[in-house]
Amino acid sequence: MPVTQTAQGPVWHLRSPRARLMLWLGWFALVALTVWCWQIMTRDTIWLFVLDAPAQAADIGARAFPPRWSYVEKLWWPLWDTLNIATLGTMLGVIIAMPVAFMAARNTTPSAMVARPVALFIIVASRSINSLIWALLLVSILGPGLLAGIIAIALRSIGFVGKLLYEAIEETDASQIEAIESTGASRAQLLTYGYWPQIAPAFWGISVFRWDINIRESAVLGLVGAGGLGLQLQASLNVLAWPQVTMILIVILATVVFSEWVSARVRHAII
């Protein structure tokens, strides 16, 4: 019991002196590490530019407003492309993620020694690389265009959907599966009658959630040449047409708000 005897009587503490010391040392190490990282990071920083930033911000702000509203006419087609990249990419990603998730789930994996680690590695690799990097790679491989964007979105979605889906599969009720199994069902019947009804709400929820995220990501994929709104953004930035940049940002924001609203409605309807 961390109680110290003082002249005024026993005083109770939450932690023992040793735990307090360890806690203090931990915080000290964290602060020291942060300061050290800060010093390394800012070694090459030109502070003149940083001090100049408010003036720069005011300058850009003054140029960016008012947005060029007429430019929106040129944005409908890129917007359609952006929506297509997100939607088709999500579909492709979900289709690939399904078997990966079943391979990764402990209760459905065909082999825990080979298939499961492979599936888990696919999930981690896909999750740790942002769709923009995938797009960068694919644009240099496949050439600029929508296809690179769609595949980039799909590759990034595999990890996200796969991870959440395999957790949903592992949480399925084993007694229902066993009931179906005891009727002599084949593996395919086991999937459609045992697993699918249990994971369907999670599946649709995850897919719509990922679609919502993909809309945000596909809006900027064009920065590296993968089509959509980002391409216009890059073009406008290159010629420093700030009113157009503002207009594009407004369109992106509106799209994001719309997709978030759709996904919230769908998830609300499912769950």
Binding site: C37, T42, V50, I60, G143, R216
Partner: protein, 268 residues
């Protein structure tokens, strides 16, 4: 005993949408959209065919990564990324804790609540990469702009989740502390903090992980870090160096995820 035919056949009822008309309308709509969408995707198959060779070289580069010949650039990018991640996460946590408390409906007065929610909405609605473009334009190239970007993005993420956690706390404990005549500060310290701390630590570790992954991206637009190295490697078609960078990123993310799950278990 009447011989009513025992049903031999059974069809599984549809799992999601019961009304068949609505279901078929949705299927038809999806099909029409799919045809339209696929129809507008222009693919230059000749270019794709030529690119397959490069794709294969990338796969080979991924299998035989070249860590050595660009090691100076890679290590510099890594150091920038890691330091940027660390400082941005710490700065983000310091800023987002008060905002998170302010955005909790059960702790903050209405005007502060709306102000904090507005900050969160602003931070969450813009992509990291767009913020990075703007900040690079203001602060110049380099990891400092990246640090600011990641801090800004961290605020939206952590504050929102922290606020939701605070709103979900067990009110009985807060009531008990309030009944002792505790001030608002004591209420936060003794009733709220012990309930949300384990989850907050988990969220911070998760955000550290995300920040590192994002730091690999914002370098593409000039905000420093490993992304700049990767961008250069891909632009020069040095797929073996690019493969090395990607493998390092994957390894660090895996290590961060593994250690964070351990720390979380230890905290809870």
């Amino acid at each position: 005993m009447t011989d009513t035919a025992y049903p031999r056949q059974w069809r599984r009822p549809p799992t999601m949408i019961r009304d068949p008309r609505l279901r078929w309308a949705l299927y038809a709509g999806a099909l029409v959209y799919l045809v339209l969408a696929v129809g507008t995707v222009e693919v230059n198959w000749l270019r794709v065919w030529e690119g397959l060779d490069r794709g294969w070289r990338f796969v080979l580069g991924f299998l035989q990564p070249d860590f050595t010949s660009r090691w100076r650039d890679i290590s510099q990018g890594l150091v920038e990324s890691l330091t940027m991640t660390m400082t941005a996460t710490v700065a983000g946590v310091i800023i987002s804790v008060p905002i998170g408390i302010g955005a909790a409906r059960n702790l903050a007065p209405r005007p502060i609540y709306y102000l904090c929610r507005a900050i969160i909405a602003l931070s969450r609605s813009l992509q990291e990469i767009i913020i990075a473009i703007l900040l690079v334009a203001m602060f110049g190239f380099g990891p400092f702009a990246g640090f600011l970007t990641l801090t800004f993005a961290t605020i939206g993420f952590l504050s929102k989740l922290l606020a939701e956690d605070i709103e979900d706390i067990d009110e009985a404990q807060a009531e008990a502390i309030r009944a002792t005549g505790a001030s608002w500060g004591q209420l936060v310290n003794y009733a709220v903090q012990p309930q949300v701390m384990p989850r907050l630590i988990g969220l911070v570790l998760y955000r550290f992980d995300i920040n590192f992954r994002e730091s690999a991206v914002i370098g593409i637009v000039g905000a420093g870090g490993i992304g700049a190295t990767l961008n250069t490697a891909i632009d020069r078609y040095e797929y073996d160096s690019a493969g090395a960078v990607l493998l390092i990123v994957i390894a660090i993310v895996m290590a961060a995820e593994y250690s964070s799950s351990h720390i979380r278990k230890w905290v809870q």
